[in-house]
């Protein structure tokens, strides 16, 4: 899975989520704790975690005051 990220400097860069697919499908649950991604060229890694950084729609619907 690819996430796009725009960094200061103008270029859109991309990163691949490490083992995201395996984690999501349950084929590699050992990586479940780190379905994050990073930009190797970035000094400060930009990390996503599907399970903590993303809000399920159901949660937003039940709590309309929740901001993305």
């Amino acid at each position: 899975m690819i996430f796009c990220i725009k960094l200061p400097g103008g270029l859109i860069k991309w990163c691949r989520v490490i083992n995201f697919k395996e984690s999501a499908s349950g084929e590699n649950p050992g990586n479940l704790k780190t379905p994050s991604c990073f930009l190797p060229s970035s000094k400060e890694p930009v990390r996503f975690n599907l399970y903590t950084d993303f809000i399920p729609l159901q949660k937003i619907v039940t709590n309309p005051n929740l901001s993305l």
């Binding site: 690819i2 479940l32 619907v61 309309p64 929740l66």
Partner: protein, 163 residues
């Protein structure tokens, strides 16, 4: 006219709906005109907004049923861009009786939830009522399934079709 709202579609070749890039452009213009400009949001302001929509196969370890939204935006101050992200389970489309219509409805739903959750002055009912103004005849006149070249998913060129 400066583009204040942009939709980026992302997904691996076998895990994304094969829609034309014109679908994305239609929704960008639709929401810009009917919602954002109408409500005085984003348009003419300091920030431009990008909404990245990722299509992803569902797996048993996924904790959400249909779609999820990134918590917060990534801000690129030097370009005055705020980038938001959302994920849609591709299974909802793949397993649908009418996958193209399902895709159109899901993109509409994602943008609706994004706008109404981020900009509280826009109520969900307002966008629900706009659905009747969607030109389905135009959208269904576009090629489906579209060729990869016609799809123009974000990063296709960068990744050399390896996504």
């Amino acid at each position: 006219m400066e583009k204040y709202f942009e939709i980026l579609l992302l997904g691996e070749l076998n895990e994304r709906p094969p829609i034309s890039h014109l679908v994305k452009e239609y929704f960008e213009n639709f929401f810009l005109e009917k919602v954002l400009a109408e409500k005085g949001i984003i348009v003419g302001g300091k920030w431009k907004v990008s909404l990245a929509i990722h299509f992803q196969e569902k797996g048993p370890m996924a904790t959400f049923e249909d779609m999820a939204f990134a918590n917060g935006a990534r801000t690129i101050a030097s370009e005055s861009i705020k980038m938001y992200s959302a994920v849609i389970h591709y299974n909802l489309i793949k397993d649908a009786e009418k996958p193209y219509l399902q895709t159109i409805e899901l993109i509409y739903k994602v943008v609706k939830v994004f706008i109404t959750s981020t900009y509280k002055k826009v109520k969900p009912t307002f966008i629900d009522e706009l659905w009747n103004e969607i030109d389905l005849n135009y959208l269904f006149s576009l090629p489906y399934p579209a060729s990869i070249e016609e799809q123009r998913y974000f990063l296709d060129e960068v990744m050399g079709k390896q996504v």
